[in-house]
């Protein structure tokens, strides 16, 4: 555990989009912290809002999205900041790595041009030589030789492009990096390499990392702490080994149970599908699919509780008891899980 002040502190953040069917509550009252040099894994199924959360932190949301709550980076409040300020922080303070490396580089620009552009934007007084030196350094750390500096993106494979993207994201040495499914479209061997690189970041530069993924295996491998997200809310946060050893939230428990490993003898899945974010279920959003659902779960959204000092859960199973009304702990009768529409 690294004892230091949090570099990123998120309190009650919401990100909603407007659509013709009503607002999509992609991120709905989310709070967490990341400390310097810590890797926080953000896990969840597709459509749970984790990508939106990542982009929302940097202010990279499309038109029509509204952000509410507090996002403090190194003590500075980001929500409500003018675009110019946020833009100037992207690169030197907060870096981002995206999912599909194949299309993230401008096909008409050489790798060199990408780097020079980024460096010149944030450090305009940098000399050509100095800029080149730093770019080659960043690339070198990713295993890209200087001879390929002047090549075009289409001359690189997917894994190499992702490494170039990481180098681009890191060349200005940001304190926090947000990685949105960085290895999802890459094969397993390349994935291992990329994860190794990300681990080195932490070791050598003390970079904090928000690793967004749906792959629990990566999380177990690379993250110090994990936050599990469901339908726009973070249902559980804990240290990785504790979460895997004894998950507190039923959703986490079911997720872990559905992982396929060499010991798996039968397939297990969670019945039903994630809810429609324009019209989420009342009360706890997981209650229609939860095997341990109680009456109170249908009526009220669970409050965050801390069963242990380093763990936070949003689940009525863990209280707080004084808030649960009389009889609320009785099991919820369900008519059978209907075939849900696609979220």
């Amino acid at each position: 555990m690294i004892p230091s002040d949090p570099i990123l502190s998120v309190r009650r953040m919401r990100v909603w989009y407007g659509t013709e069917r009503g607002p999509v509550r992609a991120v709905d009252d989310v709070s967490f912290e990341i400390r310097t040099g810590e890797t926080l894994g953000l896990v969840g199924e597709s459509g749970c809002g984790k990508s939106t959360l990542g982009r929302g932190l940097m202010g990279l949301l499309p038109e029509g999205a509204v952000v509410d709550g507090s996002v403090r980076f190194q003590g500075q409040e980001l929500v409500g900041q003018p675009r110019k300020v946020l833009r100037s922080m992207r690169g030197p303070q907060i870096g981002m790595i995206f999912q599909e490396p194949m299309t993230r580089l401008n096909p008409l620009m050489r790798i060199e041009d990408h780097f020079l552009e980024t460096l010149r934007t944030h450090e305009p007084d940098l000399s050509q030589d100095e800029a080149r030196k730093r770019s080659l350094e960043a690339l070198g750390r990713m295993g890209i030789p200087p001879t390929r500096f002047r090549q075009y993106p289409h001359e690189f494979s997917g894994g190499m492009r992702q490494r170039i993207m990481i180098a681009l994201g890191l060349v200005l040495q940001p304190k926090l990096v947000i990685a949105d499914e960085p290895t999802t479209s890459l094969d397993v061997l390349v994935e291992a390499q990329i994860l190794g690189i990300l681990a080195d970041l932490k070791a050598n530069f003390d970079t904090a990392l928000l690793l967004i993924t749906h792959n629990l295996g990566i999380v177990a491998e690379s993250c110090d702490r994990v936050a599990v997200m469901y339908a726009g809310k973070i249902v559980e946060q804990a240290e990785t080994h504790e979460l895997f050893r004894s998950p507190a939230h039923p959703y986490t428990r079911e997720l872990l149970a559905s992982i396929i490993s060499l010991h798996t003898t039968g397939l297990r899945s969670i019945p039903g599908a994630p809810p429609d974010l324009t019209d989420p279920p009342p009360g706890c959003r997981f209650h229609p699919r939860c095997p341990d659902a109680m009456l109170v779960c249908r009526d009220r959204d669970p409050l965050p509780t801390r069963p242990e000092p380093s763990r936070e859960v949003r689940c009525w199973l863990h209280g707080p008891d004084r808030v649960i009304p009389e009889g609320g702990r009785r099991p919820l009768e369900r008519e059978g899980v209907a075939l849900a529409d696609e979220a």
């Binding site: 919401r14 989009y17 659509t19 013709e20 607002p23 009252d29 959204d301 409050l303 075939l339």
Partner: protein, 332 residues
């Protein structure tokens, strides 16, 4: 004894039986959902096009005179090149015929020729494109070579030569013009259909169908054809716009339709060029405006449909979001 077949209504509701009607509705659903400017564009284009089609159909009723009529019922000749007046709202031209009537009858000519040429071009280009794109191989390569060469060549030159040669053989009528125009557009339909067939074949669902053992006829008929057909309305509409311009060009150069057989806008403008020097504006302005209006209407319709149905650049409408305040965390 075998159990009686289960009627459709008794089947589990989760089994959905695809219906033909649903296909049309689904295809054009984005049009109904479109809002604001894209929607306006489609409807304006459709409105203009519909107006001309109506004019074409009801020409003998709507037009004040016949398109070649140069005197009144009593035998009195119209004034030559008379400026717009009560009897001749668009004036008369050098042949003493009424400009407005010629404009109205001109829409009939235009619609006729364009529909014919569309039919010809589709009749040849569509099946050729389907077959070529599906079966590939030598036939495909040969066809592509020929068609590509024709596409690169200036279409008007092809149309002129074909129209001229045809007119030597079968005279200068609507069929000649339609054939000449269709020759220029067939390679285009061929190419579009062929490319679309090829890209559809790469789609996973076609591969899945093949893996399930579907015959080529099924794959072409159900998947490929239906997918390609969805694109045809947009392409045909935009093509129709082009075809009208080509018809007018042929008419302007004198390779169009015999003046005694039909009124044609391009031909009228050619006669009007000489009038421009004398300051006579009505003989050329009205036919020209008719062309501009009809082609614009068709283009708006085609482009509007494309804008609305093309998922890549379709703009999803953005609604304002009002966020209610958060509930307090702790109970009082």
């Amino acid at each position: 004894m075998a159990a009686p077949p289960v009627p459709r209504s008794e089947m589990s509701p989760s089994v959905e039986v695809p219906r033909r009607v649903g296909f049309v509705r689904r295809t054009f659903a984005p049009v109904a959902q479109a809002r604001g400017i894209p929607r306006a564009i489609v409807w304006i284009g459709a409105g203009i096009t519909a107006m001309f089609i109506l004019l074409a159909i009801f020409a003998p009723v709507v037009a004040p005179y016949h398109f070649n009529q140069y005197r009144t019922g009593d035998g009195e000749r119209f004034v030559k090149q008379e400026a717009p007046s009560a009897e001749h709202p668009f004036g008369t031209n050098v042949m003493s015929t009424d400009v407005m009537s010629r404009v109205i009858y001109g829409s009939r000519t235009a619609i006729e020729v364009v529909l014919l040429s569309l039919a010809f071009a589709l009749a040849i280009g569509l099946p050729l494109g389907l077959v070529s794109g599906y079966f590939r191989g030598k036939l495909d390569r040969a066809l592509v070579l020929v068609m590509d060469s024709m596409i690169a060549f200036p279409y008007l030159l092809i149309a002129i030569v074909v129209a001229f040669l045809l007119s030597e053989a079968i005279g200068r009528g609507v069929i000649t013009a339609a054939l000449a125009i269709s020759v220029t557009y067939t390679p285009f339909y061929f190419r579009v259909v062929r490319n679309h067939v090829i890209s559809v074949q790469e789609e996973p669902y076609v591969e899945a169908a093949r893996a399930l053992g579907a015959r080529p006829r099924t794959i072409i008929g159900r998947y490929v054809f239906q997918n390609v057909i969805q694109n045809v309305p947009v392409i045909a509409t935009l093509n129709a716009a082009d075809a009208i311009l080509t018809l007018a060009a042929l008419g302007f150069l004198g390779y169009g339709i015999q003046p005694t057989e039909a009124a044609e806008w391009g031909y009228d403008i050619q006669r009007a060029i000489a009038d421009a020097g004398a300051g006579i504006w009505w003989t050329g302005l009205f036919p020209g405006l008719a062309i501009v209006l009809l082609v614009t209407g068709l283009t708006l319709l085609g482009e509007g449909l494309n804008d609305v149905m093309n998922p890549v650049i379709r703009k999803r409408p953005i609604r304002r979001v009002e966020m209610p305040p958060l509930p307090a965390l702790e109970e009082p």
